[in-house]
């Protein structure tokens, strides 16, 4: 399209891409105006929403990492990932309410302070779920995906959809998870604090926190710390260990990696297990934050996390994290300030807008390394 238009004004419009830019600037200006007035009107409420969004975003981040790793290594949109997240939540539900896993440590070492024991108990629950999910994903990978390594990509995708259906509806059977909504018992007692102009303090039951302060609970702290820790561990595994190196090599070029003596099938299985472990942890954290488990609970968070991975640039670990934080904020802020029932539509519109501006996601092109 080197040929120029006759009319200089038309030429300028074409060259500056002004119309498209104007279009997005108007949309952006609307969002900025809405959020700006919200911040100006009631800063503490706004920051409260941001805190809530962070809580959601960190959970999404853990799920999104699995999506991004699996896509990075075999270009498969693993639709079953959200259901592995569901299995993780249910694993923790059973380990808490049936086997009291969260009390094991406390019973073994009664002299340890209660708070520390609770933290360790929660960590145990999370670890159990992670292991369950990793094993499940490893099995699924061996049975369903491995035979399709050489088949067309669409076969693997359909298989992923099939696995997703299977996990959901098998879970919905009466003797498995049952089709009911089940109340989730948290492995620790909820405690909340406030921080604001009137200082910092814990919230006692029955007493309202002071006005204009932001409330956060130990749920928020556990989610943030657990997610950050897991992200760092993942980053360490991918960047510093031998297996991580192999993962990056397989993601970059599978045949060449195989020529270098890397067992690419085993590495892919490990990637699935690793992603699933993160999804399992996310399942526990999500159930702690929203204490209810049911067989189809994985669909919506799974979808949002997937979108987060795409927004951040699929295949990139920091991208998935950033995308998830953006999605968390988009969801809570649009629910609070634009329209509650439309929050999903707004979140997915954001996906389309980001894809139009940056077709490979926010971090998609800058990071050449994929896992």
């Amino acid at each position: 399209m080197e040929r120029k238009n006759q009319n200089p004004i038309v030429n300028w419009i074409v060259k500056s891409k002004i119309l498209g830019i104007l279009f997005f600037v108007i949309i952006g200006a609307f969002a900025v105006y809405k959020l700006g007035t919200a911040l100006f009107d009631n800063p503490s409420l706004f920051l409260q929403q941001v805190v809530n969004g962070l809580q959601l975003g960190f959970v999404y981040a853990l799920i999104a990492l699995g999506y991004t790793m699996i896509y990075g290594i075999i270009q498969l949109i693993n639709f079953a990932h959200g259901d592995i997240f569901m299995v993780g939540a249910f694993a923790s539900f059973y380990s808490i309410s049936r086997y009291n896993v969260h009390l094991w440590f406390q019973n073994l070492f009664p002299s340890v302070p209660v708070m520390l024991a609770q933290i360790i108990g929660t960590v145990t629950v999370i670890l159990v779920s992670m292991v369950v999910c990793a094993l499940l994903a490893y099995t699924i990978e061996r049975i369903a995906y491995k035979p399709l390594r050489t088949a067309p990509r669409i076969s693997a995708l359909i298989t992923a959809i099939g696995i997703s259906f299977f996990l959901e509806y098998f879970g919905a059977l009466n003797f498995v998870f049952s089709p009911n909504y089940i109340t989730y018992q948290r492995p620790f007692a909820v405690k909340s604090w406030f921080v604001g102009p009137s200082g910092f303090g814990s919230i006692e039951s029955g007493i309202a926190p002071p006005a204009h302060s932001i409330i956060f609970s130990n749920i928020f702290l556990i989610i943030v710390f657990a997610s950050l820790l897991l992200l760092l561990v993942l980053q360490y595994i991918v960047k510093k260990t031998k297996i991580g190196k192999a993962m990056r090599a397989v993601a970059y070029d599978k045949p060449t990696a195989r020529l270098m003596g890397i067992n690419s099938d085993a590495i892919i299985s490990v990637t699935f297990a690793l992603g699933a472990a993160l999804a399992g942890a996310a399942g526990v954290l999500y159930a702690i934050a929203f204490p209810q488990v049911f067989f189809s609970m994985g669909i919506t968070p799974g979808m949002k996390a997937f979108v987060a991975a795409v927004v951040g640039g699929i295949g990139s670990i920091p991208g998935a994290f950033i995308g998830a934080l953006i999605m968390g904020q988009a969801e809570t802020l649009s629910a609070a300030y634009i329209s509650t029932p439309m929050r999903d539509a707004i979140a997915f519109s954001l996906l389309i807008v980001v894809l139009l501006i940056r077709p490979k996601g926010i971090m998609g092109e800058t990071s050449s390394e994929k896992v």
């Binding site: 399209m1 498209g20 959809i161 259906f165 996906l351």
Partner: protein, 416 residues
């Protein structure tokens, strides 16, 4: 008369035979209402899947948004007939007709302008189209409301049955038209994305449509759609004859499209985009037009579907369900018209009919445990679909034999 060869005649005779046998069985109540509803849904699903097969199977654009357009068509058509039967007003028809016509004209006009401007980027073009179409919609609503009363009077002067069917048929076609126009606006910027990203964006689209339908009474202001409670009071006018006629029409249209230079162009885009460009094929144009045609069929099928049960619920169009046409297309064999139709009927009959009947009481919920297991076995045993590249002679004689061609080029490569 050259076209009327042996395979065409055979196809027509076969179609008439299948139609009349099932029609007779239905009218003799040998096929009860349970099975006939399944047959209708299978036919509708076949149209949706044929649309998707055009987009994905023949043009290679991985779309998960087919159910979004299906939903748009269903709700558009349902709204028109609802207003006629429940409110005795043709305002739905006139407004939607005006929107379809004016938006269509606007798109054509803007397209004329955009193609004259060299090198306009997609987003700018999209902004132009969107603004113009939004304005045209405002104008169209005004005009539609103005002519609503005379048109209502006109339809009232006709016999009741006749006006009912005219409005129904127009509603079905308009459902397709609106879906097609929306797909044009949406597809224009999104089709520039790569294959997987296009799939993700279309998935996002179908979720957005579903959320909008969930809130159609509060956010969009269509009180009669009743949002997440589900729309009721739609006349149940879709019969086997209508479904079969539209299915036949879809098959013939797609077969003729594939036979034309258009068909060869979109198949060449699927095979190699760069090569197609270098052959002088306007890739962006053909991708968009394929997406529009595929979505038109989805919207048309939606209109038919809305009038089967007389009830619409946004959950019917949830994104989990939006995999159904994709599964059917892959089951039948990508790029096989015969396979898609066969798979659609097989899928509906097995999943809705046979599995429901075969399973003993109390094992109803096992239906969706067996289904993914079947899916898995199918993918492991026949990754290219049940029919692979097979076509019945009527369609095969027309479509350039892709498989052979490909094999030829491979053998040529090997020989070289």
């Amino acid at each position: 008369m050259k076209r009327l060869n042996k395979s065409s005649v055979l196809f027509l005779v076969g179609a008439v035979l299948v139609f009349s046998v099932i029609q007779v069985l239905i009218s003799m109540k040998i096929i009860n209402s349970f099975w006939s509803t399944i047959l209708l849904q299978a036919g509708v699903m076949a149209i949706v899947a044929l649309g998707l097969n055009l987009i994905y199977g023949f043009n290679g654009q991985f779309s998960l948004g087919q159910y979004g357009f299906y939903a748009i068509g269903a709700y558009t058509a349902a709204d028109i007939t609802y207003r006629w039967t429940q409110l005795h007003s043709a305002s739905g028809l006139t407004v939607v007709l005006m929107i379809a016509i004016l938006a269509g004209i606007t798109i054509m006009l803007i397209r004329n302008v955009v193609t004259k401007i060299r090198g306009l980027d997609t987003l700018s073009a999209f902004a132009l189209y969107l603004t113009a179409v939004v304005f045209s919609i405002f104008v169209a609503i005004k005009i539609g409301q103005l002519i609503a009363n005379p048109v209502t009077a006109l339809f009232n002067s006709l016999p009741e049955q006749t006006s009912q069917y005219i409005i129904y048929l127009l509603a079905v076609l308009l459902g397709g038209a609106i879906a097609a126009e929306v797909s044009f606006l949406f597809g224009l910027p999104v089709l520039t994305l790569g294959s997987d990203y296009f799939g993700i964006a279309t998935l996002g689209f179908s979720i957005i449509v579903k959320v909008l339908l969930d809130n159609s009474d509060t956010m969009l202001g269509f009180a009669e759609m009743k949002g997440a409670r589900g729309m009721i009071g739609i006349p149940k006018v879709t019969t086997w004859a209508f479904v079969f006629f539209f299915l036949l029409l879809t098959v013939v249209i797609i077969r003729n499209l594939l036979n034309s230079s258009y068909g060869r162009a979109i198949v060449s885009i699927r095979e190699d985009e760069t090569a197609a460009t270098s052959m002088g094929i306007d890739v962006a144009f053909y991708k968009t037009i394929t997406f529009v045609i595929g979505s038109f069929f989805a919207g048309l099928a939606g209109g038919l579907y809305a009038h089967i049960n007389g009830f619409l619920h946004p959950n019917t169009f949830s994104f989990v369900k939006s995999f159904d046409p994709l599964i059917i297309v892959v089951f039948g064999g990508l790029g096989s018209v015969t396979g898609t139709v066969g798979a659609a009927f097989g899928w509906a009959l097995v999943l809705e009919g046979v599995l429901r009947l075969v399973l003993p009481d109390g094992f109803e919920t096992w239906r969706f445990v067996i289904y993914p297991a079947l899916l898995l076995v199918m993918m492991l045993l026949k990754p290219n679909g049940l029919f692979g590249n097979y076509e019945i002679p009527f369609i095969r004689s027309i479509v350039p034999a892709l498989k052979e061609k490909k094999a030829d080029s491979e053998t040529a490569k090997e020989a070289a």
